[in-house]
């Protein structure tokens, strides 16, 4: 039916089409693996982080694994995190204003004057603790966040929880690109519009094809 040459051309075209469909997907999934987040790129939807981030901006996230012993895997105050409260679909992008990091370390017996002597003060240095610290995979952190543009902290958004924990965090914002996200917001709203009015869509389609035909 195709003829010898026709079949090859057809297969080549089919392969080109499917690889161009698969590539963005592969890139997305590859990026997710490298950055260790489920959505390495997100679009800002609200104005709670203005004037830094506006609706329609794009944020690039990473989420270093605790097992890799990188000191950056500890979330610190000042970090801008994307988190999701279980039961609520919308991820929120806000800044950490309180962090409480729990280490399961045997408190040295000569530390009667307080625990200050066994560690240094910064949370950054704590990552390089070494032999006194237990493996980082059981690191527990309790955090509180707040949008820069909000007058109060996010406690009311936590749906009953008193603190955010590591398991709620999708990733940490490392990079920023303004405006581009509006394409995604626009496409999403256009899609919703089309889906909600299928009758209108097909009517337009019919009218259009009649106009073309005439």
């Amino acid at each position: 039916m195709f003829g010898k040459l026709g079949l090859r051309v057809f297969l080549l075209q089919a392969m080109t089409i499917s690889s161009s469909l698969a590539s963005p997907f592969m890139i997305w999934k590859g990026l997710s693996l490298v950055t260790n987040t489920e959505s390495p790129v997100v679009v800002v939807l609200s104005g709670s982080m203005e004037p830094a981030f506006y609706r329609g901006d794009i944020l690039f996230l990473t989420n270093p694994r605790p097992e890799s012993e990188e000191p950056q895997s500890l979330y610190k105050t000042g970090d801008i995190l994307v988190y999701k409260i279980p039961g609520k679909d919308i991820p929120i992008v806000h800044r950490v204003i309180e962090a409480h990091d729990f280490y399961s370390e045997i408190v040295p017996s000569d530390a009667d004057e307080g625990v200050a002597e066994s560690t240094s003060d910064t949370a950054q240095d704590a990552g390089r603790g070494g032999s006194q610290r237990s493996p980082r995979s059981d690191l527990k952190q309790l955090m509180l966040t707040k949008g820069d543009n909000n007058p109060v902290d996010d406690l009311g958004l936590y749906d009953g929880l008193d603190w955010l924990e590591r398991r709620h965090i999708v990733g940490r914002v490392r990079g920023y690109l303004p405006y581009v996200g509006y394409i995604s917001i626009f496409l999403n709203e256009a899609r919703q519009l089309l889906l909600s009015r299928p009758g209108a869509f097909s009517l337009k389609h019919i009218l259009y094809s009649k106009w073309r035909a005439s």
Binding site: P51, G78, E98, D101, E105, T119, A126, D148, G175, P178
Partner: protein
């Protein structure tokens, strides 16, 4: 796309490291209550501080704004666990280079409280002024402008 990548990567070329001064008075602790759990006692710390810093070197063509924050760091124990605590007590957004010279004396904007409800087991705390440079495009960077050299004590006022 390539231009954007170059702009983004150029963040790494800027290596300004401005420093400033911090002075913190001893933190006064008062008994109080939280909004969420009105029956539970919760001690609140009140921090009075003085900051001076010249952060104009952080403003270059790519800087959109600076987010400054003053945070308290202290350690505590909970059972056999050692807890590192960091609490932001004050912050400010600086959008123009002219506003980047900070000379500010004030008190904490945000509630300073301990998760275990009391500061009694905490000997002292350190304070640091940190900043987050937020670009028009590219990588967000962080730095520290000042840190207390000596630990700041907690002081309990005589209360009824």
């Amino acid at each position: 796309m390539a231009l954007l990548a170059c702009i983004a990567l150029s963040s790494f070329l800027f290596t300004a490291d401005p420093k400033g001064n911090l002075s913190i008075s001893p933190v006064r602790v008062f008994p109080s209550k939280t909004n969420r759990y009105p029956r539970r006692k919760q001690e609140m710390g009140f921090v009075n501080f003085n900051i001076s810093a010249d952060l104009t070197s952080l403003f270059h063509w790519k800087t959109k704004q600076l987010f400054l924050y003053l945070e308290a760091e202290y350690q505590n124990t909970q059972g056999i666990l050692c807890v590192n605590n960091t609490v932001v007590v004050w912050d400010r957004i600086v959008r123009r280079k002219e506003d980047a010279v900070i000379n500010f004396a004030g008190k904490n904007k945000y509630a300073f409280r301990e998760i275990s409800s009391s500061f009694k087991k905490v000997p002292s705390s350190h304070y640091s002024l940190k900043y987050n440079v937020m670009p028009y495009v590219g990588v967000l960077t962080y730095g520290e402008a000042a840190r207390t050299a000596e630990a700041v004590d907690f002081v309990w006022e005589e209360h009824v």
